[in-house]
C-alpha cells in the first residue's frame, strides 16, 4: 500500500522488538468472535490514475460548464488563484488545531487577522475563529442569546433561509426552547407590527437574515428598535457575505452570524463552508467556539494563542457553551486571503458589480415575468414569479441553455405560487441573463396562446 512507509522486514523487526510472533497477537484484546476474518466487501486497491479517472467520470455526470443563476445560501463568485496556491502548502492543510503556540504561530496569526476582518465587515467588536457553517452558526447564536438573557424563547423571521430554520429547530427541540415565526410583508421585509406583537418577556432573541432569503435587505435599525425595546437581543444572519462590501453593516445587532462562503470558498455541493459568530465585547464569555488572542512570550515578543478556553467543552464538559471542538481554520484562511486580494476598495467595487448584474437581470427577467417584493432594496438576488412552474423552467434552462436557474420557492413558501429566487454575481454574463429571459418568455407567451 503506497501510503504505508514500511518494508515487510521492518514490520518483522518491530514485532520482534515488541516481543510478539505475529501482528494478530496485538489484536488479541478484541474478542475472537468480533475479529473480522474476511476482506471488507469494497473494491480492490486502485492506482492513482484510476482514482482520478473515476472522479473525472463523476464530475462529467454533474453539470459542467453551466452558468449559475442560483444563490439561495451558496454563491458563485470568482476565486482568485492565489488562494489554492497558498492553502495547498502542507504547513497549512496538514497541521492541526494550534494547541502548541510555539509551532503554530502561522495558523494563530492567520485566525487573528480573520477575526479582525470579520469585525471590520460586520461592525461588531469581536469575532470567533469560525463555526461549521452559516446554519449551525445561526443555531449557536440563538443558544448564545438564551444564555446571555436567561430567557427561553426565540423568534425567527420566516424570511430566514428555510434550511437554517430547520437546523435551528433541530438544535432547539430538546433544550426546551420554543420557536415562533414572524411573517414578511409585501416588500419582503420583516413585518414590524407582527414582530412587536410576537415578542414576549420570555423572548431571548429575534433572528433575522439580511439580505434575507428573497435577497431583500432588512431595515436592521428599525427591527433593532422594536427588539431592544422589549429587552430581547437581535441576531442577524448573513448568508451572502459579499453584500457587506456595499450594504450597511448590521451595527445595531447584538450577535451577527455570518456564512463566509462567498469569500473565496468553493461551492463544493454545499460544503465545507465557514460560519462565524461576531458580537459585542460584553458577551464574549458566552461566545461558542475557538478564539485567538494576542499576547507576548517570555521574551516580550508579540504572539498569538487560543484563549478564553474555560468556555469550551474540553475544560467545562457538560457546562460548556457548546460541544463544538473544531473550527473551519482552512476555510477561514481562504476567507482571509480573499479579503487581502480584494481589500478595502476591491470588496466594495466587486459588490457594486454584483449589484449592477442583479439590477440588469431583474430588469431583463422582470420584463417577462413578475418581480416580487418591490419597494425594498436588494443585493444580488430577487424573486421572480412566473405563470409556469418554476421547476419546469429550471429543467428546461438546464437542458437547453446550460443555465442553472433560480431556486423554486414552492416547497418552502407555497403562498408565493410559481416563484423562484434568482441570483446574479460578477460571474453572471449578460449573454446568460438574456438567454434565460428568452426561455422564461417563450413559455409565458406559449401559455398565453394556450
Amino acid at each position: 500500500m503506497r501510503y504505508l512507509p514500511k518494508s515487510p522486514a521492518e514490520r518483522q523487526q518491530m514485532l520482534k522488538t515488541i516481543g510478539v510472533k505475529s501482528i494478530d497477537e496485538l489484536f488479541a484484546p478484541i474478542p475472537a468472535e468480533f475479529r473480522l476474518t474476511r476482506d471488507l466487501a469494497i473494491p480492490p486497491q486502485m492506482a492513482e490514475s484510476e482514482i482520478v479517472e473515476w472522479f473525472r467520470a463523476r464530475a462529467d455526470e454533474n453539470a459542467t460548464g453551466f452558468d449559475i443563476m442560483l444563490g439561495a445560501g451558496a454563491y458563485n463568485h470568482y476565486r482568485p488563484l492565489v488562494i489554492d496556491s497558498l492553502i495547498s502548502r502542507g504547513e497549512w492543510f496538514t497541521a492541526y488545531t494550534p494547541y502548541q503556540p510555539e509551532i503554530a504561530q502561522g495558523t494563530l496569526q492567520a485566525i487573528f487577522e480573520f477575526q479582525t476582518m470579520i469585525c471590520e465587515l460586520t461592525g461588531m467588536e469581536v469575532a470567533n475563529a469560525s463555526m461549521y457553517d452559516g446554519s449551525t452558526g445561526a443555531a449557536e447564536a440563538v443558544m448564545m442569546a438564551i444564555r446571555v438573557t436567561g430567557r427561553s424563547e426565540a423568534i425567527l423571521a420566516r424570511s430566514v433561509h428555510p434550511e437554517y430554520r430547520e437546523v435551528i429547530a433541530t438544535y432547539a427541540k430538546y433544550q426546551g426552547l420554543p420557536l415562533t415565526e414572524v411573517a414578511f410583508t409585501e416588500t419582503g421585509r420583516v413585518d414590524l407590527d407582527a414582530l412587536d406583537k410576537a415578542i414576549t418577556p420570555q423572548t431571548a432573541c429575534v433572528l433575522i437574515q439580511s439580505p434575507n432569503f428573497f435577497g431583500t435587505i432588512e431595515d436592521v435599525a428599525a427591527i433593532a428598535d422594536v427588539v431592544h425595546a422589549k429587552g430581547a437581543l437581535l441576531v442577524v444572519s448573513i448568508a451572502e457575505a459579499l453584500s457587506l462590501g456595499i450594504v450597511r453593516p448590521p451595527a445595531e445587532a447584538d450577535i451577527v452570524s455570518l456564512e463566509a462562503q462567498s469569500f473565496g470558498v468553493p461551492l463544493s455541493y454545499g460544503g465545507p463552508y465557514a460560519g462565524v459568530i461576531a458580537t459585542r465585547e460584553k458577551f464574549i464569555r458566552q461566545i461558542p467556539g475557538r478564539l485567538v488572542g494576542q499576547t507576548t512570550d517570555r521574551n516580550g515578543k508579540r504572539g498569538f494563542v487560543l484563549t478564553l478556553s474555560t468556555r469550551e467543552q474540553h475544560i467545562r464538559r457538560e457546562k460548556a457553551t457548546s460541544n463544538i471542538c473544531t473550527n473551519q481554520a482552512l476555510i477561514a484562511l481562504m476567507v482571509n486571503i480573499y479579503m487581502d486580494v480584494y481589500g478595502r476598495n476591491g470588496i466594495k467595487e466587486l459588490a457594486e458589480q454584483n449589484l449592477a448584474k442583479a439590477a440588469y437581470a431583474r430588469k431583463t427577467l422582470g420584463a417577462k415575468a413578475k418581480v416580487l417584493f418591490d419597494g425594498a432594496p436588494r443585493f444580488n438576488e430577487f424573486v421572480l414569479q412566473t405563470t409556469e412552474d418554476a421547476y419546469e423552467i429550471s429543467h428546461r434552462l438546464a437542458a437547453r441553455n446550460k443555465i442553472i436557474g433560480g431556486f423554486p420557492l414552492r416547497k418552502f413558501y407555497p403562498e408565493l405560487g410559481n416563484a423562484a429566487v434568482w441570483c446574479a454575481t460578477e460571474l453572471t454574463s449578460k449573454t446568460a441573463v438574456d438567454a434565460a429571459a428568452k426561455e422564461v418568455a417563450a413559455i409565458s407567451v406559449s401559455e398565453v396562446k394556450a
Binding site: 484510476e50 467520470a57 455526470e61 492565489v82 471590520e120 468553493p266 455541493y269 464538559r317 448584474k357
Partner: protein, 498 residues
C-alpha cells in the same frame, strides 16, 4: 543533550512577518475586475439608506505581498508533512495528494448544492458510494453524511437515540459517560437535554461492569463509549456492556474517534453498537487544516434509520439517484445542504486507494507503531495501565515529577527535538498524561528518532531539568503568556490612532 546534538532538526533562518494590516498602504491592490457587460448602477440610488457609509478597513496589498505573507506564516507551523505529529486520539495521518486533486475538479468543486438532481448525479454517486462503503466498514445498516465534524456527529447520534426512545414512549433522563471520555461527549449529551452521569473505569482502564450494572436503569438512555477508549484500550467486555444496556432498553453510542484501531479488523456493528460517528478527518485521511473542516458521518442500526437527518441519497431501480426528503420521523436537519461534501470526496478517494487489504494493513501498522513506542518507552516513562493497548498509548509523568518536570514541560522540550508534542494531560483518569498516537504513517526511522528524543529528555530531567523547564529554546517564540491573554483579551488588530 545540547540542541546542536539533536539528530532530527537544525535551526535555520526564519522570516519575520507582521500582520497583513501592517503592510497596507492606500492604492495598492491585488485584483482587477472584469469589464462590466451590463449598465453600471448608482449604488446610492439602488440601496438608499442601506448603503454602506464607510468601507470595511481591509488591507490594501499587492499579490506578491500576499504570497510572501502567507508563505512566511506557513513556515511557523508544524505539520504532518514535516514529521510525526503524535497527538493522541487525533490520528494525524498522511493526507494523500490525490484527495486534494479530485476534490478540486471543476464540476465537483464548482457544483451548486441546489442545482437540479439530474445535473448532480456525479455528486450524489460520490455520496452514495462513500455511504455504502462506510456502512460495510462499520458493520452498521444506515448512515448520514450530514454532520460537519465529530462533535456534530455526536450531537446527531444522541438526537437519534433520543428520537428513537421518545417514539417508544420515554426519552429517559440520563446518559452515562466514562471518566476517560472526550469533553465533547458530556457537552453533547447536555445539548440534547440529558443529565450526564459519570461512569468509573476499573483498575484495568476499562468500563467497570459492576458499576455499569448498578447505574443502568430505566432512566438511562444509553452509554457514550469510545472504543478503543482514550487509554488506547479495547473494551474487552464490549458484548457484556451492550447486553447490560440493551436488557434495560438503553442504547450503546460509540464515539468513533479511535476507529483507526479497528478498520478492516473489527466492526462496531458486530459487537453491539447501536449508533456511532466517524471522523473522516482522523480515520479516513481528510486533512485537519489547522483545526477544520472535519466531517462526522453517523452510522446506525436499522431501527434508528427512520430518524436520520433528511435528506438521504436513494437509488432507483434504474440507477438514478435522488434526495429523499419524505422522512416523517427524521430528527430534521443538522446542517444546511448535505454536509462537508468536499471531505466526502477525499475520504472516498482514500478508501479507493487502500482497498480491503490496504485498510487492513493500515490498521495493523497503526497498532504496530503504537505498540513499538510503548515497548521502547516503557520503564523510561511510567505506564499507569498494564493492559494491552491498540493504536495509542498513555504514559504518565510520575517518574519525572521527582525532578519537578511535568508532562507539559516534556511536551515543550519535544519541540526542540523536532517533534510536535503528544496530547498533554488527557485523558483525565491519568494524572500528568502523555497520550501518544503515532498512526500508521510513521516510518521506523521516525519512530526511532522519537524514542531517542523521549529517552534523551528523560535523561535531561535528571541531569539538566532547567533545560526542559525553559523549553522550547529553538522556536521563534517560547512559552507564550496564556494567562495574560485570557485576563485582558485582545481579539483583533486595531489601527493605532494618531
Amino acid at each position: 543533550m545540547s540542541n546542536a546534538d539533536i539528530k532530527k532538526v537544525t535551526t535555520h533562518i526564519s522570516q519575520n512577518e507582521g500582520l497583513i494590516f501592517e503592510h497596507s498602504s492606500p492604492g495598492k491592490k491585488a485584483y482587477r475586475l472584469r469589464q462590466l457587460d451590463v449598465p453600471a448602477i448608482d449604488a446610492a440610488a439602488e440601496l438608499g439608506s442601506a448603503l454602506r457609509a464607510e468601507p470595511a478597513d481591509l488591507p490594501e496589498v499587492s499579490e506578491i505581498e500576499i504570497i510572501r505573507h502567507f508563505t512566511r506564516l506557513s513556515t511557523w507551523n508544524y505539520a504532518v508533512d514535516h514529521g510525526m505529529y503524535p497527538l493522541g486520539s487525533c490520528t494525524m495521518k498522511y493526507n494523500p495528494r490525490v484527495n486534494e486533486v479530485v476534490a478540486r475538479l471543476d464540476s465537483i468543486a464548482g457544483a451548486h448544492p441546489y442545482q437540479p438532481e439530474q445535473a448532480s448525479q456525479g455528486a450524489l454517486r460520490i455520496m452514495k458510494t462513500l455511504a455504502d462503503q462506510l456502512i460495510e466498514i462499520t458493520g452498521m445498516d444506515a448512515i448520514t453524511l450530514q454532520p460537519a465534524a465529530g462533535a456534530h456527529g455526536e450531537l446527531t447520534g444522541i438526537l437519534l437515540m433520543r428520537a428513537y426512545l421518545e417514539s417508544r414512549g420515554n426519552p429517559r433522563k440520563k446518559v452515562l459517560i466514562p471518566d476517560s471520555a472526550h469533553g465533547t461527549n458530556p457537552a453533547t449529551a447536555a445539548m440534547v437535554g440529558y443529565e450526564v452521569e459519570n461512569l468509573r473505569s476499573n483498575e484495568r482502564g476499562m468500563v467497570d461492569l459492576a458499576a455499569l450494572e448498578a447505574q443502568m436503569n430505566e432512566d438511562v438512555a444509553g452509554l457514550m463509549l469510545t472504543n478503543p477508549n482514550t487509554l488506547g484500550i479495547f473494551e474487552q467486555q464490549i458484548a457484556q456492556i451492550a447486553e447490560i444496556l440493551h436488557r434495560k432498553g438503553g442504547l450503546l453510542y460509540m464515539d468513533g474517534a479511535n476507529m483507526n484501531a479497528l478498520v478492516a479488523k473489527a466492526r462496531p456493528g458486530d459487537f453491539g453498537v447501536d449508533v456511532m460517528h466517524l471522523n473522516l478527518h482522523k480515520t479516513f485521511s481528510t486533512p485537519h487544516g489547522g483545526g477544520g473542516p472535519g466531517s462526522g458521518p453517523v452510522a446506525c442500526k436499522a431501527y434508528l434509520e427512520p430518524f436520520l437527518p433528511k435528506p438521504i441519497v436513494v437509488e432507483a431501480a434504474d440507477g438514478r439517484l435522488s434526495l429523499d426528503y419524505n422522512r416523517p420521523q427524521s430528527i430534521g436537519r443538522v446542517r444546511a445542504f448535505f454536509g462537508n461534501f468536499g471531505m466526502h470526496v477525499r475520504a472516498l478517494a482514500y478508501i479507493m486507494a487502500n482497498g480491503p487489504d490496504g485498510l487492513r494493513q493500515t490498521t495493523e501498522d497503526a497498532v504496530l507503531n503504537a505498540n513499538y513506542l510503548r515497548k521502547q518507552l516503557e520503564g523510561t516513562f511510567e505506564l499507569p495501565y498494564a493492559t494491552p493497548t491498540m493504536h495509542e498509548v498513555v504514559f504518565s509523568d510520575k517518574l519525572q515529577n521527582k525532578q519537578g518536570i511535568k508532562t507539559g514541560d516534556i511536551a515543550k522540550r519535544l519541540i526542540d527535538y523536532g517533534f510536535h508534542p503528544y496530547t498533554v494531560s488527557f485523558p483525565m483518569v491519568v494524572h500528568g498524561a502523555l497520550m501518544i498516537e503515532p498512526t500508521e504513517s510513521e516510518p521506523l526511522e521516525e519512530l526511532d528518532l522519537f524514542v531517542d528524543a523521549m529517552k534523551s529528555i528523560a535523561q535531561e530531567a535528571i541531569d539538566t531539568p532547567e533545560l526542559i523547564k525553559n523549553a522550547p529554546s529553538s522556536t521563534r517564540l517560547s512559552r507564550l503568556d496564556e494567562t495574560a491573554a485570557a485576563r485582558k483579551p485582545i481579539l483583533r488588530w486595531k489601527r493605532e490612532t494618531k
